[in-house]
Each structure stands twice: as structure tokens, then as C-alpha cells.
Symmetry: C2
Subunit: 202 residues, 2 copies
């Protein structure tokens, strides 16, 4: 059950899979079937990436393995641990910053991890699951615990599960479903010049 306020109040129509996505901080005590997890990461797999580098990897822990779950939870900062502990599945988003073909910096790498995790999130929404992504983690601790090689960086964490029915822990979580309006970030010709197609009367 999702509070009605969690659905985006859009100015223009968007697909339900995007409008219904939100980042809860309470999860039901209910595990995610392996079948769904496979499809979530399969969705990440098919994201586009620069030079098809697929610079992402994920470390995943479910509560089926309490030790692995505790180890992964310990890589989140205290504020995130407080709520993310209720999720049945946690993951770390790991990224290779160098191109495999020549070892040069892949300027798209972190961006492309975002594309993969976004695909995972769309797939999750389509299966009644929710994903709450985090940047507040301890990357070096995670590298040590999970023996991640030097050429990979831990960048994000993801809590995955079924949205809880309680009020959010973070008071503003639902109220935060606010966004800049389009003419604050979609420009043409010159910075801060709103694109003409934004005017709905066109």
C-alpha cells in the first residue's frame, strides 16, 4: 500500500512507472523472491553505456544471509543505517572509472552507473518493489570488507524491498516530493532561457 501523496504531481503526463516511483524509508518485513532480483539486475544489465563499457557492478546482500546483510549495512552511514536496516535487500553500486580498452578515465562511468541503477528501479516499480538509493556510505570500508579491487570504486548503495505502511522516519520524506519546474532547468539558445516548447499552449 502506497500513500497517495507519494505519486508525483506532474505538470505534464509521464509514464506510470516513473510517476509512481518514490524512495520510502520504511520497508515491509517481507523478502524479495530470487526471480524478481534476477529481473532487477537483468534490467540494470541492459542499460546503455559509453563504448558499451558496462562499468557497473553490484554487491548484493539479502536477509537470507544475516552476516552478509550486517556487513553491507555497516558500510552505510549512521543516518542511512537507521532506516535501511528494515529493507530485505541492500546493494552497493560499484563502478570502474577506467576504460577497459585503454585504461584512460571513463568520464561517463559514474553517470552510467546511474543509468543501470535507474533501469533496476524501473523494473522494481513494475514488480511492486521500491528502491531507495543512497550516496551516504563508507566506500573504503566497503572495499575492504568485500575485497573490491583498487580499480573499482564503491559509489552508491540501494535499499530494495516493499514499501512499508508506516509514516516515514524522515519527517519530510513524502513532503519532499517536490521538484523544480521545467523552466528552471530546460533551456534553449542560452542558459536560463526556457525552451519555447515548454509553453503548453504551443
Amino acid at each position: 500500500m502506497v500513500l497517495s501523496e507519494t505519486k508525483a504531481s506532474t505538470d505534464f503526463p509521464i509514464h506510470n512507472l516513473l510517476a509512481e516511483r518514490w524512495s520510502p524509508d520504511q520497508f515491509q518485513d517481507r523478502s524479495v523472491p530470487a526471480e524478481d532480483l534476477r529481473s532487477l539486475f537483468e534490467a540494470a544489465r541492459w542499460a546503455p553505456s559509453s563504448y558499451n563499457e558496462q562499468p557497473w557492478s553490484y554487491i548484493v546482500a539479502t536477509k537470507d544471509s544475516p552476516e552478509e546483510f550486517a556487513a553491507l549495512l555497516s558500510c552505510l552511514d549512521a543516518g542511512n543505517q537507521e532506516w535501511a536496516k528494515s529493507a530485505p535487500v541492500l546493494a552497493l553500486g560499484v563502478v570502474s572509472l577506467k576504460l577497459t580498452r585503454d585504461g584512460k578515465l571513463n568520464r561517463a562511468a559514474v553517470h552510467d552507473l546511474g543509468l543501470a541503477s535507474s533501469n533496476l528501479t524501473v523494473e522494481a516499480t513494475s514488480r511492486g518493489l521500491v528502491v531507495h538509493q543512497m550516496i551516504g556510505i563508507f566506500p573504503e570500508k566497503a572495499k575492504q570488507i568485500f575485497e573490491i579491487p583498487d580499480n573499482w570504486e564503491v559509489w552508491t548503495a540501494l535499499a530494495i524491498g516493499y514499501a512499508g505502511e508506516q509514516e516515514p522516519i524522515q519527517a519530510g520524506a513524502v513532503k519532499k516530493r517536490k521538484r523544480k519546474v521545467l523552466n528552471e532547468f530546460v533551456f534553449s539558445g542560452k542558459w536560463r532561457n526556457p525552451s519555447s516548447f515548454l509553453r503548453a499552449e504551443d
Copy 2:
């Protein structure tokens, strides 16, 4: 019309909006209705972001304004210009690397631009449109042409339109629809240790 080979050959089922997405390098000579463009950027608007910073902006050019289109096209590298010139709409993905609340580095910024552009791409797919993202651009040239302030960085470009029916210019474009298998990038407990839920017989 989309070649059948462009659909992802998935090992596990994923939503059609994800399986059908691909990055063509030929576009039909057909403009994108303003109504659709509004919904594409509305979709980007509702992506999640760290601290709800929404660190993304877009500079958009359509062929309705040949000068703006030429200016934006000139910000792509030669290889990308060759094919992207056939798209009816081009955009630059621009990102603020600093948190608005304290001016500190936003480690999630580039990742979150990816989340926004991914949302845009899902919306595009749902409307029969395609998006081809690029990292091969001239960021400083773009900043100068579009008077983008110092605290914003041009990171990506996007070509948006209707997939062309010709063979791709880039010979391997369709053949490139290959991906690592899941046990090459989804691990548990330890790096390179494939997650147990990946075994479909579970």
C-alpha cells in the same frame, strides 16, 4: 520500424520499456511534437537525487531553430556529429557538482544526471521515440556558446527522435547489443562471488 535485432535478448524477463530501448544512429526526418518533449523533460524532472538536489539542467535544440541546432551540433565531437545531425532534437546534459546547501562537492551529481536522463529515455521509449546518449562532446565550447555559468559542467549530449529505418552508420551498432552476463557483475559476500539468487533453479 525497428529491426528485430535491436530488442535485448534477455536471460531473465524485464519490462518491455527497458528491453526495447536502444541507441540508433539514424533518425527519421520527422520532428518531435512539443507535447512529447514536455513529457520527456517532465520525466527527467521526477528522477530521484541525493538530498533532492536535482543537479541536472538541459540545453535543448530542435531543427525548428536551425541556428540553435547548428550551435549545439558543433559541441559534439566529429564522430558523433556525423550521425547525430540526422536527429530532430539534440540536448546537452549539464550538471552542478556542488551542493546548493553548503557548496561542498556533490558526489552523486553526475550519477543523478544519469538517473534523470534515464527517466527521459524511458518516457521516450513509451512514446515511440529513441534517445542516443553521448559522452564525446566539447564541454568548454558548449559552456561558452550557451553562456553556462562556472558552477555548472556540461557532461553529456542526447540525440532524440524517431529511429531511422536504414542500416546503422556505425557497423557494430546493432551487433553491440551484447552485455556481460549477470554473474560477471552481481556479487555477494565477496568480489567476484556470484550471488546465489542468480541461479534460476532456486
